[in-house]
Symmetry: C2
Subunit: 166 residues, 2 copies
DNA sequence: GCTCCCAATGTAATGTTATCACATGAGTTA
DNA sequence: TAACTCATGTGATAACATTACATTGGGAGC
């Protein structure tokens, strides 16, 4: 059961949140003809269960315990698939991975621009979506004649829950 | 000699650019009572010479060739020192390091907020400074009650020079 | 039926990046 | 001198990621 105080980000119905995310991904895969194989699906579930960043070897440990694979490529291949299609994001500052928590993977024609808030106290990762419109980074790039293809926005700090706790 | 076309970012007087950067750092160290030891100074010079991101082991190779150290901690300790004081930045998406190219390390009381434009063609890293004022990431964090302590902004793409070349 | 192809997986080995643990040496202070 | 701090030397190990090659299993076309 999920009995957390109202201010806790984990206070939501996490089982439903996981099920909904899986449903969205399954729908996307059906439409796009993608194969959500057992390993890929299980890796996604593991990340959804966490709501935090998990390293490839942490995921691999779980897969091993379940008899779903034992060598690094098993985890990395599944993660590559999930990232390629926007179901999972890589957190560069942690060398780790999180499940996409915005509903945006249901709307591939309007790709979202994720930004991540990483709590150094509870290691939870909050995904926020910033408008695709031009921000300061884009402005700076434009001024330099630089064509951005991919941008990384990650902030480390303390989340609301942990701030209240201290 | 530095004989590059006018549009090339390397067209500046690179020797002077390096000397000026070293001078700034030396001045900062004198004022703050920091020890710019031979290894630390050499690591900074190596990065300044490059004007691009270099991995810790790439730096270590150079140090080894010069008899300045052979084990990873030698490079990492020097980099830790240089980063701690803002003379060098870490590029998270490359697991690599660049010398700070803004004059901001001369003004520690007004810490700058660096953002990096990484060219995937020439691997050159352009450091730009974004205003410390609130941007979209800060706005999103504020809305979530999240206190940002450190933000990473890195964009991969193609620089002006490489775009013209293609 | 069949073969051919392709995507996914299994697995060993290796490569790359980063840290730990502990010993040594130089300079400073009590 | 003894105690302390800061920087360095060095071997070992941890953590993260990729390469290479063999194998499997399900269509597509015949
Ligand atoms: Zn949830
Ligand atoms: Zn937290
Ligand atoms: Zn220069
Ligand atoms: Zn370029």
């Amino acid at each position: 059961m999920h009995d957390a105080v109202a201010s806790d980000p984990m206070a939501h119905d996490h089982d439903a949140c996981i099920a909904a995310a899986i449903d969205r991904v399954e729908a996307r895969c059906r439409v796009a003809g993608l194969q959500l194989t057992p390993v890929r699906r299980r890796v996604l579930e593991i990340l959804l269960e966490e709501h935090r960043a998990l390293g490839a070897y942490g995921i691999l440990d779980r897969l091993r315990a379940e008899g779903l694979g034992s060598q690094p490529p098993v985890a990395y291949r599944a993660l590559d698939f999930l990232m390629k299609h926007g179901f999972v994001h890589r957190i560069e500052t942690l060398n780790a991975f999180v499940a996409c928590t915005t509903g945006a993977n249901a709307a591939p024609e309007d790709p979202h621009m994720p930004a991540f808030l990483i709590c150094r106290a509870c290691r939870r990762v909050i995904e926020t979506t910033v408008p695709t419109a031009r921000g300061r980074l884009e402005t700076a790039a434009e001024g330099a004649g630089f064509a951005i293809e991919h941008a990384v926005r990650e902030a480390e700090g303390v989340c609301a829950t942990c701030r209240r706790a201290s």
